[in-house]
């Protein structure tokens, strides 16, 4: 190797050697390199354009290719292999309890405002929980309630129905059914019964999913 270097002071190194040089220069440079730049770095008399052509051919169909960028040259990953440069991981996580409860309330009481959700749950609903459900596209923002402050309401989506295997939200089991299925403690507090069952089953059911019906003219009476 040393011989070549010393000889090169007088005559250009063999073209195979020049190819090696161009290869190394293109590999190690932080940006594209122009031909004059290459020539300036290579021994006197070198012809980087010929070496470059050879290298370009050599890399044809390989995992990387020699590409022209403006007036300069660079080695780049072949476009079809770009997928190797990203890693996609999929993780399955159980929805948090807060999110499940919020979703359930929206499903049973839609269209429902955030304040109403909080009243039913008895705790504040974090912005993150709502965002998460929106992101999952299981809930959507419905129209605003015609009450002071005009709060937005939430309702479930088609995607929600798909995911939970429901034809429509009316298919959700009512409180009576939940109780019959043993999912509700069979010890209703006095007074609560009226509120939850009767209203839910009739008054609420009527207005329920009004958004889905897109009955925009009708202002619900709440």
């Amino acid at each position: 190797m040393n011989d070549i270097k010393e000889e090169s002071l007088f005559e250009a190194p063999p073209i195979a050697e020049q190819e090696r040089m161009v290869e190394a220069i293109l590999f190690a440079s932080a940006g594209p390199v122009s031909l004059p730049d290459m020539a300036g770095r290579m021994p006197h008399g070198s012809e980087p354009h010929i070496a470059l052509q050879n290298i370009q051919k050599r890399y044809l169909g390989r995992g990387v290719e020699v590409v022209r960028v403006d007036q300069a040259w660079a080695i780049r990953t072949s476009a079809d292999l770009a997928f190797l440069m990203q890693r996609e991981t999929v993780e399955t996580r159980k929805l948090s309890r807060a999110a499940i409860e919020t979703l359930a309330i929206i499903a049973y009481h839609q269209p429902v405002t955030r304040a109403e959700i909080e009243e039913i749950r008895g705790v504040a609903v974090s912005r993150g929980t709502i965002d998460q459900l929106l992101e999952l596209e299981w809930i959507k923002i419905g129209r605003r309630r015609q009450t002071p402050g005009r709060p937005v309401t939430f309702a479930v989506t088609e995607k929600f129905l798909d995911h939970f295997g429901l034809e429509n939200a009316r298919d959700l089991p009512g409180l009576k059914e939940l109780r019959a299925a043993g999912l509700l403690e069979n010890r209703p507090a006095p007074g609560l019964d009226v509120l939850s069952d009767t209203e839910n089953d009739e008054g609420l059911q009527e207005n329920l999913f009004e958004d889905a019906i897109e009955d925009l003219e009708d202002v619900p009476i709440y």
């Binding site: 190394a24 590999f27 190690a28 440079s29 932080a30 940006g31 660079a74 080695i75 780049r76 990953t77 440069m85 990203q86 890693r87 996609e88 991981t89 999929v90 993780e91 399955t92 996580r93 159980k94 929805l95 309890r97 999110a99 499940i100 409860e101 979703l103 359930a104 309330i105 499903a107 049973y108 039913i120 749950r121 008895g122 998460q132 999952l136 995911h163 939970f164 295997g165 429901l166 959700l172 089991p173 409180l175 939940l178 299925a181 999912l183 509700l184 403690e185 010890r187 209703p188 507090a189 609560l192 939850s196």
Partner: protein, 262 residues
């Protein structure tokens, strides 16, 4: 570096023979100094005369003392040890004496010198290798791998119904369960105070006796304050503590009642 300082044997030889130009700063410890002195012997480190070396070292230290050069303690420790070694090597072995022989000690010192020299040689070889960023180069244009994480959240109808049922039954339970989360009973307060009162020699604010975690929530604080106060009255009645309030609404303070007060 040291190599340059002691490029040729001639220089180091002169150092020793010409009553030495003592420069302890140039050496990295007594072992380094010994290694440099050993070069004057022009022999394989394995065949070195430790006795000669000890004499040279002691001579060096002697000169340094004459020149009133302050020597680091480890140079003096080594000098003392070499003086001991020298006597062992010169005197015929005493069979009644325990411990390693002079030859054993000398062999070990020779080993240490050889090992240090070997490490220096390999260090030089290592640094002379084709090094990354100097002789060999990494890729100039790198493509970082993009990590994309997708999280799938799952929930089924049962989760949903159970969730809903949980909310709806939460209220149902209320009348049946005594909610005592925020109640600190007087028994609890009394137990706590009895444990702590032994340490209260000085007047201390009663509020500082509230249990940890009962400050933030107003409900809890109220309950804890009331029970702690009641407990303090109880303790005062029992004659265990003294209690005082300097002014209306000022902090109530308590302290242990000491015998001499009675």
């Amino acid at each position: 570096m040291q190599e340059e300082l002691f490029e040729s044997q001639a220089i180091s030889e002169r150092m020793v023979s010409e009553t030495l130009i003592v420069d302890v700063d140039g050496f990295e410890g007594p072992l380094d100094l010994l290694l440099n002195l050993s070069r004057t012997q022009k022999v394989d480190l394995r065949k070195i005369s430790i006795l000669d070396l000890a004499v040279q070292y002691l001579g060096f230290i002697e000169t340094a003392k004459e020149l009133r050069i302050e020597l680091a303690a480890d140079y003096l420790v080594m000098a003392a040890w070499l003086a001991f070694l020298k006597s062992r090597l010169l005197l015929p072995p005493d069979p009644s004496e325990d411990g390693p022989s002079g030859d054993e000690l000398a062999a070990h010192l020779a080993f240490q010198l050889e090992r240090l020299q070997a490490m220096r040689d390999t260090a030089a070889k290592l640094m002379a290798r084709d090094r990354l960023g100097r002789d060999r180069f990494v890729r100039g244009i790198t493509e970082d791998m993009i990590r994309r994480k997708t999280v799938h959240y799952t929930a089924n109808l049962l989760d949903l119904m159970q969730g809903y049922a949980r909310i709806r039954t939460k209220d149902d339970f209320r009348p049946f369960v005594m909610d005592r989360d925020s109640v600190f009973t007087m028994e609890q307060a009394l137990n706590r105070m009895r444990g702590l009162i032994g340490f209260a020699g000085h007047w201390t604010d009663l509020a500082s006796y509230l249990p940890d975690g009962w400050y933030e929530d107003p409900k809890k604080r109220r309950s804890a304050t009331a029970s702690t106060f009641a407990a303090s009255l109880e303790l005062a009645k029992e004659g265990k503590i003294e209690i005082r309030q300097e002014d209306v609404f000022s902090p109530i303070k308590i302290r242990k009642k000491v015998d001499r007060d009675e």
